[in-house]
């Protein structure tokens, strides 16, 4: 039928439909975060007012100040009439649960995990993708099968292991296991990337007088930088959101909690303060969302590398 419509009409109709579809998907994907952002900008208590405001009429950064622990006693006092907790106590609690520490912890943990898992995975990926040895596929399967094991299964003995190493309540207890939680996936992503580089490269470098280790560092790694990068982002995101282990080994100590563990703690402590919780959510997501947006193309390419080859 569309063939009978005039060309211009058909084109305009298509544009209209495309725009409508884009908007629908955007609404589906963004509404929840948008509403959280809106809630985080409301003054304390306004989140419970009916009719709900989709966007606050008087946006304020009050909630962010509270979440970052820069809140005044007086400010709490004026708003917490009828609360069982004294303003002074509340201010102390707020300060002790400041999100600055978890954000810093998460940044440390995620950066360390990304860096070390990249290092380890690029070595193993190189072996699997480009070196000649038997049991190549078996090695990859061995790593991948490991990654299928849920953390719920390994958490108890890992907890015990960390306890016997005396690492409970330290960031190391999160960093070390998380490195290896990401190694299998990173190995797979990077290996897929390595496999796409021409195999003549090593032969050329060998003829030019390089040793295998030098070839790895000077030829392969620079060429595979985009692949390494997407694996790095992947590991960073993975450890940023890792909750089960983090909450187990941090044992409720705010000083060593990463964002997910602190988030839960915070939402239990201030279960009715949704402007605060919303602000905490926004702070927790902002960095990784920004990172993903900037490196979007590589992330998508990395994610699909292994899944879609014919």
């Amino acid at each position: 039928m569309s063939a009978k419509l005039s060309h211009r009409y058909r084109t305009q109709y298509t544009y209209l439909m495309q725009t409508v579809v884009t908007i629908l998907i955007a609404v589906f994907c963004l509404t929840p975060m948008f509403y959280i952002l809106s809630t985080s900008l409301k003054p304390r208590g306004a989140e419970y007012m009916i009719p709900l405001e989709l966007w606050p009429s008087k946006p304020t950064l009050q909630a962010y100040r509270a979440v970052l622990g820069i809140v005044e006693e007086a400010e709490l006092a004026s708003e917490s009439k009828g609360s069982m907790v004294l303003p002074a106590d509340q201010a102390r609690i707020v300060k002790s649960l400041s999100f600055v520490t978890p954000l810093r912890n998460s940044l440390i943990v995620s950066s360390a995990v990304a860096a070390f898992s990249l290092l380890i995975s690029s070595l193993s990926a190189y072996a699997i993708a480009r070196l000649r040895f038997r049991y190549k596929i078996q090695s990859l399967i061995f790593l991948q099968l490991g990654a299928m094991i849920p953390i719920a299964v390994t958490i108890a003995p890992t907890f015990m292991l960390m306890r016997s190493l005396g690492l409970l309540r330290t960031l190391l207890a999160m960093i070390i296991p998380n490195i290896f939680y990401n190694v299998p996936m990173s190995t797979w992503l990077i290996a897929c990337y390595f496999a796409e580089l021409p195999f003549d490269l090593e032969d050329a470098a060998k003829v030019d007088g390089y040793k295998p280790i030098q070839i790895f560092w000077k030829v392969i790694i620079p060429l595979a930088a985009p692949g390494l990068f997407s694996a790095g982002v992947f590991a960073f995101l993975g450890s940023w959101g890792e909750f089960m282990l983090a909450s187990a080994v941090s044992m409720g100590i705010p000083a060593v909690q990463t964002v997910p563990a602190a988030m839960l703690n915070f939402s239990v402590q201030f279960r009715y303060e949704w402007t605060w919780i919303s602000a905490a959510i926004i702070l927790s997501v902002a960095l990784v969302a920004f990172m993903t947006l900037v490196f979007q193309r590589w992330v998508i390419r990395g994610l699909t590398a292994g899944a879609v080859k014919y």
Partner: protein, 298 residues
């Protein structure tokens, strides 16, 4: 002295750190969990000092109605979430592929966003949107006149089950769409052109060309998501805490609860081993699928 390493030796050395880590943090832990599950083990104790109880923990698990209920929920959740995510993800991927180039760029950036959000934070978000009194969702339903008062999304058992599924679908349709988008992009443009010239209209093209060529990707994506959904923990823990009652308790969240709430490491380990057994089955299929994609130097 000059040491000359042969290629297999180098490969072995390169693989060593990864292997050691994976053995220590996965395989060794599985064995440990297996051992724990045979002991009557409490939180703070070493297993050597605790009574060996053979398969008593498993007997307890299999006799418990909670176990069967949570197994049923885990399977139902996995099935529903994966299927819905496939449907939504496929829709989003097709749309992104269909719209003009710059709209497609925008859509890609939008679609990837929910995937970035950590699961526990996703749980927080939906706790607020499903709030019983002032949740945005209930509010919209009331404003549209569909219901008189906001539904109890998280406390009404049937509703809670599906709210959890909805929250998971919202986050993970993203990753499904990204996978499928990759699959779509891997189909050569010539093939579509050929199908058009061969006289195939859009629906016929979708059914006979796009979908069959996408099938390997769909299968891998389903398995990938399925394995992930089976071990869902964070979302449950943060959104419903397994409630109301134990209606939305998954095997993973039960295991965690036994460990760290009740301190029964032995019993929790038995749960964990059951989860593992189920996942190994799916993982075997998944690995044999992605094995076909491997094109490494032999």
């Amino acid at each position: 002295m000059k040491i000359r390493l042969r290629e297999p030796t180098i490969a072995f050395l390169f693989l060593l750190p990864a292997f050691i880590g994976v053995i220590v943090f996965y395989y060794y832990q599985i064995v440990q969990t297996g051992i724990y599950s045979l002991h009557n083990l409490q939180h703070t104790a070493d297993w050597q000092t605790q009574p060996f109880v053979w398969f008593k923990n498993y007997a307890t698990v299999f006799r418990s109605t909670y176990f069967w209920q949570s197994l049923r929920f885990t399977v139902y959740f996995t099935f529903m979430a994966t299927v819905l995510e496939l449907a939504v993800g496929l829709g989003m991927a097709m749309a992104t592929f269909w719209v003009s180039r710059w709209l497609g760029g925008i859509l890609r950036a939008i679609i990837i966003m929910p995937w970035v959000i950590p699961p526990i934070i996703n749980a927080m978000i939906w706790r607020w949107l499903f709030h019983a009194d002032v949740g945005l969702f209930g509010y919209i339903l009331v404003s549209l006149g569909l219901v008189d008062k906001p539904p109890l999304f998280l406390t009404e058992p049937m509703l809670a089950v599906h709210s959890v599924i909805f929250a998971d679908v919202w986050k993970n349709s993203s990753i499904m769409a990204i996978f499928l988008l990759g699959g779509l992009a891997a189909i050569p443009a010539d093939i579509y052109d050929a199908a058009k010239v061969d006289g195939a209209r859009s629906w016929f093209r979708f059914r006979k060309v796009t979908l069959p060529m996408l099938l390997p990707t769909i299968l891998v994506a389903l398995l990938f998501r399925g394995i992930d959904a089976l071990r869902t923990f964070d979302l449950i823990y943060g959104l419903t805490g397994g409630g109301p009652g134990t209606v939305t308790e998954t095997l993973s969240s039960f295991a965690y609860k036994y460990y760290f709430t009740y301190g029964k490491f032995g019993l929790g380990s038995a749960y964990a081993i059951v989860v593992f057994a189920i996942i190994v089955g799916l993982a075997a299929v998944y690995l044999s699928r992605i094995r076909r994609n491997m094109r490494f130097k032999e």
